[in-house]
Symmetry: C2
Subunit: 244 residues, 2 copies
């Protein structure tokens, strides 16, 4: 029996956004590994072992997946959104680099709808021109680098999507982000807060940077900042295809 | 009978990446509008009218969708990938801005798997840290702005994904892109060419910028340039979660 690891994206929340490819992988799996709320989205069945784990143990989780696959298990590592965007795929390759005894493992990454694309779709089309995706968590990089990236992104007039904008352990980071953005982009730039996208709890709010406050974001929020041309049309927010 | 417009992403090619949400919208549609090869992916059935159109008529297509919906049609505008990423969603909102008589139209954007995420998944996880998406076509923006964005993206040490890297009408642009990248990122930076992702024609090739040549890309290729930390592990390419 040959084991494998599939790192699968469950999308941002709605089951209607789970791809058939991911559904098929889940149906073949013997083991599901991931953060508790994502594993909870997979239905239990005979022959399937669920391994839910807490946050911040990505590397241990990845090593566990490689170990199980080496014993013949068919392992699906579940991420929300897309596994390649601030999620488990990089952690699995980091583990593979550390544990060369697992070099021959059959690893596949199964893409999913990442949160920024679902948030953009809910708002209209704010990412319709060149854009950046930035993880605002400073767990794995220094704040100075985040600030530098915000400035470079604005100087290139990129729209920006932010993941992990704010958490209880980092209450000040998003306030500093808004200060940098006001300085670089000006007070009238549009910013969209999309919380719990594609779920019944969805809230969607677009304001100017002058009106934005840190408490508009939490860990379930994706934040999208427009470029200089981003504007409203009716209830929608969009960025034109042409540059200003 | 109330019409609507759904702008739907069919994903990069494989039917296994079409979301159930998009499949359900296609099943309810009376009219499908889009570029010929994308409309060709929708099965004909009684009660469904297909409106395939040639490239470069995005705005006319968008206006047609709004007109049909105003007459009660249930219109799905099909894009490949995600409709909000260099695709039809922004064109529909541009048309809505021009034609305010359609302001009340029920418009929804249905996200899809965009090409860069499928390409990244096929390669490993090269977009596993902060990244940018840049459309290299200079149809709708000047080359100077593209060059400026490439430089800002590198100075922020973003990984980069390029859409529309090269076409017959723009043979020189991608050569200039490679020159700018070598200057900014250095010769040893990894660059991945992913052609026809998720189809049986898939080709995947990773080289250094020193080894990269313009003919490695065409209009079916998504190009991903790593950040300074992007590296190989076995046959995979990935960008670690931590900054250098």
């Amino acid at each position: 029996m040959t084991g494998w690891v599939a790192i699968a994206g469950l999308g941002p929340g709605s089951e209607a956004l789970v791809t058939p490819e991911v559904t098929a992988a889940l149906a073949k799996a013997t083991d599901i590994i991931g953060y508790i709320p994502y594993v909870a989205r997979v239905a239990e069945r005979p022959g399937l072992t669920l391994h839910p784990t807490d946050n911040r143990v990505e590397l241990e989780r990845a090593q566990h997946a490689l170990e199980l696959a080496s014993q013949g298990a068919k392992v699906v590592v579940v991420s929300s959104g897309d596994p390649g965007v601030f999620a488990m795929a990089s952690a699995v390759f980091e583990a593979l680099e550390e544990r060369r005894e697992f070099a021959a493992t059959d690893i596949r990454v199964l893409p999913g709808i990442t949160a920024m694309l679902a948030a953009a779709a809910a708002a209209g089309a704010p990412l319709g021109h060149d854009f950046c995706a930035i993880n605002l968590s400073d767990n794995l990089k220094p704040w100075d680098l985040i600030e530098h990236r915000l400035r470079m992104a604005d100087r290139g007039d990129f729209a920006m999507a932010f993941y992990n904008p704010r958490s209880k352990s980092r209450p000040a980071g998003f306030e500093k982000t808004l200060e940098v953005l006001r300085e670089e982009c000006g007070e009238s730039r549009l910013i969209t807060f999309a919380r719990a996208v594609t779920t019944p709890d969805l809230t969607l709010r677009t304001v100017t940077l002058a009106e934005a406050s840190p408490d508009m974001a939490d860990m379930r929020t994706v934040v999208i900042v427009g470029n200089a041309a981003t504007r409203r049309v009716g209830r929608y927010i969009y960025t034109p295809r042409s540059a200003l």
